[in-house]
C-alpha cells in the first residue's frame, strides 16, 4: 500500500521544483509539446507573471528612495517580518505534533479532524478574523476569561497579529508535514521502538530528521502566507502603525490616497518574498 503523498508533492513542487524526481529529461523525447497543452500553459504563465511585471513597470523609481526610507515603511516591514516569523514558530510548535497525530495515530473521527484543520485554508481570512474575535476578543467565548482572570486582551495588540497570522498559516504547515509523514516509512520508527526507544524519543531522533525537508517546506509556506496575511489581521488586530499595521495593511491604506507609495510598498514585499523563497530553496536543495 502506497500512502498518499499529495500534500508533500505539492509543497515540494511549489518550492523545490521537485528535487526528488531527477529523471532523464527532455533531450530524450524532445518532441514539441502538444498545442492544446502548450497554449493554456503559456496563457497561465503570462496570467501569473504579468501583474508582477506591471508592478515593476509602474513603479515610481525616481521617488522610490524617499518612499522606502520613511520610518513608516520600515516600521511596517519590521513588524511584518517579526510577526510572520513568530506565527511560523507557533505553527511549528503546535502544527508538527498535530500533523504527527493525524498521520500516525488511528482515532475515530480522524477524517473530520483533518477537515477541520484544513478549514482555515479555504475560509476567507476576514471570516477567520471575525471568528477569532468571537473566540479571543475581549468579549469572546474564551477572551472574556482571559480578560477577567489575567487582564489579557488580544485584539489591537501585536500578539493579536501573530495569532491571526498563525490561524491562517498553520494549516499549510500541517498539511505539508502530514503529507511528508505519510510518505516516510514508519518502519524506521517501529525499529527504533522495538530497540527500546520510547515513542517520543523515536519521534525526536528518527522521525523528525526524516521529515525535516517537509517541515522546512511547510514552514516556508506558512511564513509566506503569514507575511501576506491581511483580512484576519485587520479584522482581529486592527490597524495601528508600529503595533498592528503590517505591510499588507500599509499597502491597502496607502492605495487609498497615495498609489505610488502602495506600489513601492508592494515591491518591497515582493522582493522580500522572492529573497526568502530563493534563499530557502537553495539551502533545501543542497541538503537533499
Amino acid at each position: 500500500m502506497t500512502p498518499p503523498a499529495s500534500g508533500k508533492a505539492s509543497a515540494v513542487d511549489t518550492l523545490g521544483g521537485g528535487p526528488r524526481r531527477r529523471r532523464p529529461r527532455v533531450g530524450r523525447r524532445g518532441r514539441a509539446a502538444p498545442l492544446p497543452l502548450l497554449v493554456p500553459a503559456l496563457i497561465g504563465l503570462v496570467f501569473l507573471v504579468l501583474p508582477l511585471v506591471a508592478l515593476l513597470i509602474r513603479a515610481p523609481w525616481h521617488s522610490m528612495p524617499d518612499l522606502l526610507t520613511s520610518t513608516e515603511v520600515w516600521q511596517a516591514l519590521r513588524l511584518s517580518l517579526v510577526c510572520a516569523t513568530a506565527a511560523t514558530a507557533v505553527s511549528l510548535v503546535l502544527g508538527v505534533p498535530l500533523a504527527w497525530l493525524l498521520a500516525r495515530v488511528e482515532f475515530p473521527g480522524r477524517g473530520l479532524v483533518r477537515a477541520l484543520v484544513t478549514l482555515p485554508l479555504v475560509l476567507p481570512p476576514v471570516v477567520g478574523g471575525v471568528a477569532l474575535l468571537m473566540a479571543l476578543g475581549r468579549n469572546g467565548v474564551v477572551g472574556k476569561w482571559l480578560d477577567s482572570w489575567f487582564g489579557v486582551t488580544l485584539p489591537f495588540t501585536t500578539t493579536g497579529v501573530v495569532i491571526a497570522e498563525a490561524f491562517v498559516a498553520m494549516p499549510f504547515l500541517v498539511i505539508s508535514v502530514e503529507g511528508t509523514l505519510r510518505a516516510a516509512d514508519p518502519r524506521y520508527e517501529e525499529a527504533a521502538t522495538t530497540l527500546g526507544a520510547s515513542r517520543f524519543t523515536a519521534f525526536r531522533r528518527v522521525t523528525l530528521p526524516l521529515i525535516a525537508p517537509g517541515i522546512a517546506a511547510g514552514a516556508v509556506l506558512a511564513w509566506a502566507r503569514a507575511l501576506g496575511e491581511f483580512g484576519a489581521t485587520i479584522t482581529f488586530a486592527g490597524n495601528f502603525p508600529g503595533r498592528t499595521q503590517t505591510m499588507p495593511l500599509a499597502v491597502y491604506l496607502a492605495l487609498q490616497n497615495d498609489p505610488e507609495a502602495a506600489i513601492a510598498l508592494s515591491l518591497v514585499l515582493l522582493a522580500v518574498s522572492i529573497a526568502v523563497l530563493a534563499g530557502l530553496r537553495d539551502r533545501w536543495m543542497t541538503t537533499r
Binding site: L133, G137, R138, N139, T153, P155, F156, I234, A237, G238, N239, F240, P241, T244, Y252, L253, L255, Q256, N257, P259
Partner: protein
C-alpha cells in the same frame, strides 16, 4: 394533436395576458413617478456610497425600485477614499456619493464625474460608547484617558479626517488602539465590545440602535462633513442614475436621510 395545439393557444393567450398586464403596471406606475417625466426608467444603476449612508440609501433604493418597476439599484458601500480610488481605477459605477468633498475631489480631479457634485446632506461626529456608557464618557477629553480603548477611522477616510480636525481644534492628543478602514468597522469594534469608544457619525450611532450609546460633544461642530453626490462619466444608464440622484435630493429623500440623523445641506 388537437390537445397540443390547444395547449399552444393557451400558452399564447397567457403570454399576451402577461405582456398586457406588464404594460398596465408600467402605465399606472408612471404617473406616480411623474417627477422624472421623461418616459419610462429601466435598467440597473450602481451606486458607490460612503459606508455611513448604508441604511438610508438602502431604504431609498427600495423606494426607487418600487416607484420604477424594472429598475434595479445596486450599492457598493465602503470608505469614501477606497470607493474614490476604485472609481478612478475604472470600477463601473453610475453614481458616487462620498462623505467628504476631499474624497469627491479625487474623482473630479481624475475627470470621472459628469456634472458638478452637489452637497445633499451633512453629518456630524458623535462618540459611540458601550451600552449604558459604563466608562462614563462625557466629553471628547474623556477619550484621551489611557485606560480607554478608543478606535478612530483612518485619516484617509472622511470620518478619520473629521475626528482629527475636531481633536486638533480642541488641542487634544488621542492615541487610539486602531485606525479603522471605514466608519462602520470603527463602530462595529464598539458593537462587538472590543473597544470602549469610537468617534463615528451621529447617523451611525442612531443606526446601531441600543448596541451603542451616543455621547454628543461640542467640538464636533468644528468638523461637520459635507456629503457630495455626482453622476459619473462612465455611467451607461444616465437617465435612471439621474432619477436616483433626484430622489436623494427630493423632499422625500431628505426626509429619509434626516430621520437617520443627517443634517440638511
Amino acid at each position: 394533436m388537437m390537445q397540443v395545439a390547444g395547449g399552444g393557444a393557451a400558452a399564447l393567450l397567457a403570454l399576451t395576458a402577461c405582456s398586457s398586464s406588464d404594460d398596465d403596471s408600467a402605465g399606472t406606475s408612471d404617473p406616480s413617478g411623474s417627477a422624472s417625466a421623461s418616459g419610462k426608467l429601466s435598467g440597473e444603476v450602481t451606486v458607490f456610497a460612503a459606508a455611513s449612508l448604508k441604511e438610508s440609501f438602502e431604504t431609498l433604493g427600495r423606494e426607487f425600485e418600487k416607484a420604477h418597476p424594472g429598475t434595479k439599484v445596486t450599492f457598493s458601500f465602503g470608505g469614501s477614499d477606497a470607493l474614490a480610488a476604485s472609481i478612478t481605477g475604472g470600477a463601473p459605477a453610475d453614481v458616487f456619493a462620498s462623505a467628504s468633498p476631499k474624497t469627491m475631489k479625487i474623482v473630479t480631479d481624475a475627470g470621472d464625474n459628469a456634472g458638478e457634485p452637489a452637497t445633499f446632506v451633512r453629518n456630524q461626529l458623535e462618540i459611540a460608547t458601550l451600552p449604558g456608557n459604563p466608562d462614563k464618557v462625557a466629553s471628547l477629553k474623556d477619550l484621551t484617558d489611557a485606560d480607554l480603548k478608543v478606535v478612530l477611522c483612518d485619516k484617509t477616510v472622511p470620518c478619520g479626517a473629521a475626528a482629527e480636525k475636531a481633536l486638533t481644534a480642541s488641542k487634544l492628543k488621542l492615541t487610539p488602539v486602531s485606525y479603522e478602514e471605514d466608519v462602520k468597522s470603527a463602530l462595529n469594534k464598539v458593537v462587538l465590545k472590543e473597544a470602549d469608544a469610537a468617534l463615528v457619525y451621529k447617523t451611525d450611532v442612531r443606526a446601531a440602535g441600543d448596541k451603542v450609546e451616543g455621547v454628543e460633544f461640542p467640538e464636533s461642530a468644528d468638523a461637520i462633513n459635507d456629503y457630495p453626490i455626482t453622476l459619473l462619466k462612465e455611467s451607461k444608464n444616465t437617465d435612471t442614475a439621474k432619477a436616483f440622484i433626484a430622489l436623494v435630493q427630493s423632499a422625500e429623500g431628505q426626509k429619509v436621510l434626516t430621520s437617520a440623523g443627517f443634517l440638511k445641506p
